[in-house]
Symmetry: C2
Subunit: 418 residues, 2 copies
Amino acid sequence: MPTHPQKPLIIKTGVQFTTKVRLLVKLPEVDYQLKVKTTFDNFENTLGASFSLLRSRQFFILTNNTKVMDIEDYSNGCLSVEFRHLQLKEKKYTNGTKGNEAVFVLLGSSCFCSPMLHNVFLQTCSLPLVVISNVSQLPGGWASVMWYNLLTDEPRNLGFFGNPTRASWSQLSEMLSWQFSTFAGRGLNKEQLDMLGEKLLGQLVSCGDYQVSWSKFAKENIPGKPFSFWMWLDSILELIKKHLLPVWNENYIMGFVSKEMERALLKDREPGTFLLRFSESHLGGITFTWVEHSDSGDVKFNSVEPYTKNRLSALPFADIIRDYKVISNGGVPENPLKFLYPDIPKDEAFGRLYNSQPSKGKMLTSDPIALSLSDSSRSEASTTPRSCPSPEPPMTPGEFDMLSEHLCFDIDTVSFLF
Amino acid sequence: MPTHPQKPLIIKTGVQFTTKVRLLVKLPEVDYQLKVKTTFDNFENTLGASFSLLRSRQFFILTNNTKVMDIEDYSNGCLSVEFRHLQLKEKKYTNGTKGNEAVFVLLGSSCFCSPMLHNVFLQTCSLPLVVISNVSQLPGGWASVMWYNLLTDEPRNLGFFGNPTRASWSQLSEMLSWQFSTFAGRGLNKEQLDMLGEKLLGQLVSCGDYQVSWSKFAKENIPGKPFSFWMWLDSILELIKKHLLPVWNENYIMGFVSKEMERALLKDREPGTFLLRFSESHLGGITFTWVEHSDSGDVKFNSVEPYTKNRLSALPFADIIRDYKVISNGGVPENPLKFLYPDIPKDEAFGRLYNSQPSKGKMLTSDPIALSLSDSSRSEASTTPRSCPSPEPPMTPGEFDMLSEHLCFDIDTVSFLF
DNA sequence: ACAGTTTCCCGTAAATGC
DNA sequence: TGCATTTACGGGAAACTG
């Protein structure tokens, strides 16, 4: 199990993780033990080649990394060893090049069989994974995992990020929707994806499918903003996961709407109609915009400053909507939010989601009154037996091949689907 | 320097600290080096005794703990070595007894002199200190440091907490006031201390001086509350440090007033007169109570639920006072807080302390409206030379004694005054 | 079982490295 | 010098351990 249970294949240095090595074939009942060692593969090329180059960044396993595969460790019909409390640390004396956080590396494992299988060397490896040193790198690391799995079928394409291939918008948008359905319980509809596509690619999306670069997706900042497209999207995903889950799952958050579209949708609606959208200017923010008619009959739009995780952890979003008040010139506070777009009465939509006491009767506002008018794994077995001269070969070549092909190394029991 | 710069003599395991060993005498210019080693003293009795017992809890220094005292390290006219990045860890294989967090222990240091002073052994030690494993133990640890320093002049009374002596209320109250003046910039006045004394001791305080036990001060819970007296007081100190410093320093927080006293003070005052007091039921909370007259002419007292660090970090306290509104039956919100007790107009008192925009004109309340009607070193040198048979004594006995008496060990440059 | 302690690790801030 | 990355550690919560 990697450090973040929800995000496999990402390991943070200094934080414990778990891995399991399995022998996929049922062996004849012989009385021997397998000594298994888990190591971090610091070499550039594939396993089993006759020579290798050390990578520019190297890691090692700090903790106990050898275990004996016990006959009693049968689980699901195969021999396995689980390594717990493994911890990764970077080697500090490597040549100066500090790579980016998207470096893909391999966790390898080797088996020595004794006494009967003595001198037979077996090796397997995990899927490529990302090493980070701080949770602040988790979004970037996850972007790498997604991009890799979207564009490579090879289980061990370690040079992938040297020249990452592009993704078509149809591929990418499907994956983005998948992220929302996996982590937030509800995916993205066509309108939401269209807005995202336009944000990422401009009007190009509408003119057929388009190729998106890795850089545009996760490295370059959105023009005029201090964050990349994925950083922005991930901040919203996190906001939903932590503070908006029920509202999101009820499909009450339109979320991804441009301000132009927002106005177009609201302008012909009943006064007091509102919709919820994510902030495009700040990371992890959600606002509401409502329509009203001024005395002269003009249509007016009002928005509130985005609510971020800090404000939402003080009061759940549904309660904010219920308790939101505008103090009109008459001095009487009133809630301007009447209908969730297109025309659902507010309490009908949010009623079940209210948490704390509603405000009524004599009330004390113990909180500020602000002036604000505008919105400012798939499991993969890979083995590479090395032929070593064995003085007394304990198995036939056929038996050996079979054994080699069924030694499996999972970094997590959770499968990883893309 | 210990882990918490403001609270010396408390070291948290796994967190870096700094210490300095100084040779207080100016040595004749000889060409030798002193190798100094810092260790954690895990023995029961004083330095230099012929035998010792291991303590039930033992710690050791994880990191590099030897350094050579260089001739060039002269600072303030004496030889010194500074140890940085020291880290403490508990020995895990000791006998089962887990002691409490108030264990006092010693950091020791020994010097080997070579080549001229070869075979001469010198040793010094720090003041007693407290080891904790989590910042949640900091208040308890600090209570120990205070109690020790209040009641012992001995620099190394390690058995003190086996049977801690009592403190007189006059001693203790002086120290409590000192804590507030040190950490919050303003001490406690007689009325505040009287309230604290009564809380701790009942009416006994008024009948002359009284002895307070260590247990009553920091171990036993306040009757009916899930926290001790010091836990409660420290939570308030922390609240002031983080969120109330300017208001506290302007002396606008009466703070320590019983509810009875509060009512007695307010009842004859102008309606809208209010005062600020700390919550006695919750840790780290502050409320305000104001007086008003009901239609029938009765005096009424209203309080708000205590503000805690979470709410105060959303909006500073002065702004809360400015923006606080009661929505009367007429529906018009109004601020009931008019005069800070005894009769200071609110804005006159808090005007300078307001931070954000005041609320006026058309206002949006983006925050909840709650229904709430009631308050529901000194530097110490200690050396114990051991006489070792030296084949070629490089110094006269007099010189040696002088050297021994002037080897000093500070755990911090910050002096510690009680 | 429970209560006092410790461990774990996120998330912010500061330090470091290139 | 500035940005990318790591380290430091407070703080909340889970895990531990007698």
